[in-house]
Amino acid sequence: MIMLMLTDPFMQRALIAALLVGVTAPVVGTYLVQRKLSLLGDGIGHVALTGVALGWLVGAGMGLTPNDALAIPGAVVAAVVGSVLIEVVRRRGRTSGDLALAIMFYGGIAGGVLLIGIAGGSSGNLMQYLFGSISTVSDADLWLTVVLSLVVLTVGVGLRHALFAVSHDEDFATASGLPVWALNVVVAVVSALTVTVAMRVVGLLLVSALMIVPVAIAQQVTHAFGRTMLTASVVGVVVCVTGLSITYWYNVSPGATIVVLAIGVYAVVSMLAPLLGRRRPVHDPHPDLPDDVDLPAAATERAAAAAKECR
């Protein structure tokens, strides 16, 4: 039965796309969670919708068939512009990042619906972008996904130490002469590319879930940045491929299945994590150092006794 699924060319393309998105989205999501910008992916997703409609409008104007041929390039451009704009606003510090994101949310959806109408389509045409349409992935789509994923992975993994340094402590990075502004723009652009890559798999409304939920799961089981990123990617691949496979046999939305599955894993792991933690041997975290004060003799004895108890 699994062989049947793997020999289906539609399914092959879909599985490869899901695999790539599963690896890529959590890598970028790790940086977003690190910067406390978990909702950035949502903001970019909304703006990408305007890009989809814009691509549609331009495509219709040029008489291209199919008339959504420029939808994905449009989404890529709009997402990159939008994410860089957010970074500019954040740097200026005039508007809080939170407020800028909110304005992007509304502007993106409203712009998309407005433009698709002007292009002669209906908001129904936007549904496949909002909720994903992985089963309609064409060879050209797949190649674009492969290339963009490789770009995102190369940057996200190759520059991980520098991107970590900037995300962890921007002041220190500045005082180290690192190109902080450039690195921030890199994170923004890479996030935008990830959103457009994941758009076909889970849809713009659920893109952010693929970036953030695997990171939330990884955080339950690890306390290191590098391991969080690695674990999140593994989780991302497992839920994407499993979720998509389920939809081969049951006629449900792949995007929604993947996200619900991820949140289910999160719930199970957060219940199990405390049990796993308990297996580690209890150790004494206190250093055995003298105090800054001279203790009376009785207290010194009690300190010695306490140290003995901990050993």
Binding site: V33, H161, D169, T174, A175, G177, D292
Partner: protein, 273 residues
Amino acid sequence: MTDTRRVTEPSEPVIEARGLHFRAGASHILRGIDLTVEHGEVVALLGANGSGKSTLVKSLVGINTPSEGSVRLLGEPLGAGGRGSRVDWSRIGYVPQRSGAGGGIPSTAQEVVASGLLHGRRLRLPRGWRQQVAVALEQVGLADRVHDPVHLLSGGQQQRILIARALVREPDLLVLDEPVAGVDMASQEAFAATMKRLVDGGLTVLVVLHELGELEPLVTRAVVLRHGKVVHDGAPPPARHDHDRAGHRHQHPHADDNALDAESRALDLEVRP
């Protein structure tokens, strides 16, 4: 750019600030500061809370862009935000005042200290970085905590992680913003010993302090700020007489340090001689 850049001329100041002003909105925080630090000096920057010490230090390392005036680091002018400047960042280490820095993902001592190895155009860790990180953690007495998540360490231990992050690149100039606030006496002594060894090796230091404490024997000059101006630049001033000098060693805990403040203040009554 030639190799001679690596060696600062002994005559050339390590830090040179001229007519530095910094305004944040309506508040005029630095009001015309001139400060020179020469090679091999250990300069203490003193002053009450809110006198502009941290703002000055941040302006000197490129975090704050001064409203007026200029800064030269190791002989090179500091550009806006540090971009495009030819300052050799590999020779400068900065230790911020303990902050809530750190993002939404826990990271280990090793990861945080390793980020100190990146500077200027170096965006990837050099070979043998694990060894360098281990040495830096050893210097602050936290070698055994290399894989511990930083957010689970105590406040004083986190402060020492920040010191290790600045030391790991083996700087020629160390700029420290209250490095020993909230650090226990044994660690302060260890820190002073490490500093002494580095200063003997030619390290130049600018350090923001509330009182000289364990670093007193090392400090060659003190600069005192008041209302954003330098009011004293010369020999370290004696502490006020109500701070009984001979046995006085306590660090004033910050109000926001932790809930144990009241208790530790009570213990200050029997500070050892």
